[in-house]
Amino acid sequence: MSFAKLSASALAIAAVSATTAAARDNVQVAGSSTVLPYASIVAELFGENTDFPTPVVESGGSSAGLKRFCEGVGENTIDVANASRAIREKEIKACADNGVTDIMEVRIGYDGIVFASQQSGPAFTAFQPADIYNAIGSKVMKDGALVDNSFNNWAEFNGDLPDVEIAMFIPGTKHGTREVFEDKVLLAGCETTGAMEAMIAGGMSEDDAEDACLDVRTDGKSVDIDGDYTETLARIDTNPNGIGVFGLAFYENNTDKLKVATMGDVAPSTETIASGEYPVSRPLFFYVKKAHIGVIPGLKEYAQFFVADEIAGGSGPLANYGLVADPELASTQDAIANEATMGSGS
């Protein structure tokens, strides 16, 4: 019977592959969708420029990537986790519980978060953190009192902004971008509008007030986007009043569709982000499992290649795509060369 032959050969193949599976020869990377574009550029170049096979880079978000990273040591776990935020204490502990103790932290550069709207839409040209907080915070100051957010239009709290309905598309909680958005925009806005002070005056502890500042309204004026920036772009495309939160590189690739607003009177650009003038930016990282160096061929070379001056430096392909080069790249390079791990004082 041909069925029998087919299934027999299938089983044979499965058996063969199960045994060859023990020797993975490519670097396996997963994590942040913000770092993914850069990692895919480096992975392609690494395959083209070295004798090692091209690494596999998966997406999924910083938290998901670090979770997989911390699953353990061994060839069926990933070697590198991309993250658009620093690893958390909790995650380091989870890693340690699973035997992943020596972690190398590599900072590849900085990324700016920009606020953009439809090119032909209303004139959203300048925001302050306070404006964003007033638009989407769950409790805001209105006429000197802390109330549930009932603002419908931007002009209600800032006459300089267009008199159109509030519609913001912000990164969902699984994105590392959300954290920097909360820290640098919502929290800052909460403080400057006086909402935080009012919360503390109302009997909250400082920590609780900080948490409360990060709550966004749930009446549909603020929409969490769990997908990629393309999803945000699609929402902006269909909603002329929509304001989206994007990465700088994504915006720069779509300047014909989007116009960007200044934040705190500074226009986002690689220069203003590198100098620290633009307030909403964050470092991007990847984490390397030291135990895999020497086991997975090309792992250390991949990390070194990633942060080489020619690649991650100011005139390299990553900067050309929109990454803000790290001024301290040299020390990162040294750290990788010495295989310095986190907490080992480097």
Partner: protein, 443 residues
């Protein structure tokens, strides 16, 4: 329905004419007409959406099959090559050599525009990799003139396809308005031209800054190996299970339970199979991540119920008289099944299998969890076994990846990928229809 045979009372019937329909007949006729109209409206709505879908897919996707190339003769000397190879970023060095050569060529032709190396670099896609691969495969071509057709940058490509216009574009480090004058001049000189996009069909995925180098070929191969696994596992298992359930198994609570569960399994969302695949095949069995083998195993689980259900239906459709006749002339039950029932049910089984495979071919969700989505389809596997174990993507996963990239050129590639995926699906479905038409028997 016995009214017709009953002796009809004569009341009120005398006024009825045989030629003119009475009120109730008219009403019934109208109801029928209305119903037909509903049917036609339903079909027309369906067709309308189909047409809209197809035109949007074709209009968005067909540009992906064309590309803009810069076509020039280029000489690379042994010394140039050695210098380039000594650097860390080798492909950039090759790219720089090409830019210099192109500038010399343009200067010689005497184009009436400003030419500088930065502008040329902006016009070109990522060409270094192509050049380096060419010379490492053909070292004998060193020192000889070679004509290269290299991809232009995605924005120059967009200029030809209408994505980028002089009015809407803004000067950026990717492209400046003055560069377009150079593009026009180079087109007049025959250096920039449009060509069929073979690399899109045969190539592998590329980095996000290199849409010109992206192709779907590698992921087609990934899909092919996955389908091999699905076919080799789900067909024998599915057919054996359904023959046993249909022909041999006793009818009791236990087989009823199995039957209900198979139907349930067919309705389970595919992502669930992905989670299962991650837990069982990768974390427990330690099979390689991102491998078509694992993808195939996961999709097998998903396809099995479809195949079992359709196989059982076609076995049921074989009339009992065939079995009775075979058993009557002394065949064993197994002989009756394998010699008579199974061949008659085969067309239905194959149709079901092909439809199941087509479904599996278009599936992305389970692949998300086993690492086949991302920058994965990096090249062709070397060898048959490697095809199963080396990391690869699949067509729908590749399309999904492209659709989420920042550069609009990738969006176009995603639509082009959909066209290719649809062609495969269409072919499979047509084969299924032909099989059914030619071999199916009705009793």
């Amino acid at each position: 329905m016995t009214d017709a045979s009953m002796p009809t009372p004569e009341t009120g019937r005398h006024s009825v004419s045989l030629t003119a329909p009475d009120a109730r007949t008219r009403k019934r006729a109208q109801a029928e007409k209305r119903f037909r109209a509903y049917g036609i409206i339903a079909i027309a709505t369906g067709l309308f959406f189909l047409v809209v879908l197809f035109t949007s897919i074709l209009s968005e996707g067909i540009p992906a099959f064309k590309r803009t190339v810069v076509s020039v003769e280029f000489i690379l000397t042994q010394q140039d090559r050695e210098e380039a190879e000594s650097e860390l970023f080798k492909t950039k060095a090759y790219s720089n050599l090409f830019v210099t050569a192109l500038k010399t060529e343009l200067d010689e032709r005497g184009l009436n525009v400003d030419i500088n190396e930065d502008a040329i670099e902006r016009l070109l896609g990522k060409v270094g990799g192509t050049i380096r691969t060419f010379y490492s495969e053909n070292p004998d071509k060193l020192g000889q003139p070679v004509r290269f057709d290299l991809a232009a940058s995605s924005r120059v490509d967009g200029y030809y396809k209408g994505r980028v216009t002089r009015e809407a574009m803004q000067d950026s480090r990717f492209l400046q308005k003055s560069d377009l004058d150079l593009v026009d001049a180079m087109e007049k000189a025959g250096i920039i031209k449009q060509a069929f996009n073979w690399p899109f069909i045969t190539g592998a995925d590329s980095g996000v800054d290199n849409p010109g180098g992206a192709g779907i070929g590698a992921s087609v191969v990934g899909s092919f190996f996955m389908m091999l696994v699905v076919l080799a596992l789900s067909l024998p298992i599915g057919v054996a299970a359904s023959i046993y359930l249909e022909e041999f198994a006793p009818q009791n609570r236990f087989t009823d339970l199995i039957e209900v569960n198979i139907s349930n399994l067919a309705a389970v969302p595919s992502i669930v199979f992905g989670i299962l695949g991650l837990a069982v095949f990768i974390q427990f069995m330690h099979l390689p991540q991102s491998a078509p083998l694992v993808g195939g195993l996961v999709l097998t689980l998903m396809t099995l119920p479809t195949i079992i259900i359709s196989t059982r239906a076609s076995l049921k459709a074989v009339p009992p008289s065939i079995r009775d006749a075979a058993l009557g002339v002394g065949a064993s039950k197994m002989q009756a099944v394998f010699h008579h029932v199974l061949p008659l049910a085969a067309p239905g089984i194959l149709t079901g299998t092909i439809i199941g495979l087509a479904q599996a071919l278009g599936e992305t969700a389970p692949l998300l969890l086993i690492g086949m989505v991302g920058f994965v389809a990096r090249g062709y596997p070397d060898g048959f076994v490697a095809g199963f174990t080396e990391a690869n993507s699949a067509m729908p996963a590749q399309i999904y990846t492209w659709a989420s990239r920042a550069d609009v050129a990738f969006y176009e590639k995603a639509w082009g990928g959909i066209i290719i995926l649809l062609m495969f699906l269409l072919t499979m479905n047509i084969i299924a229809i032909i099989l059914r038409r030619r071999f199916e028997r009705r009793w």
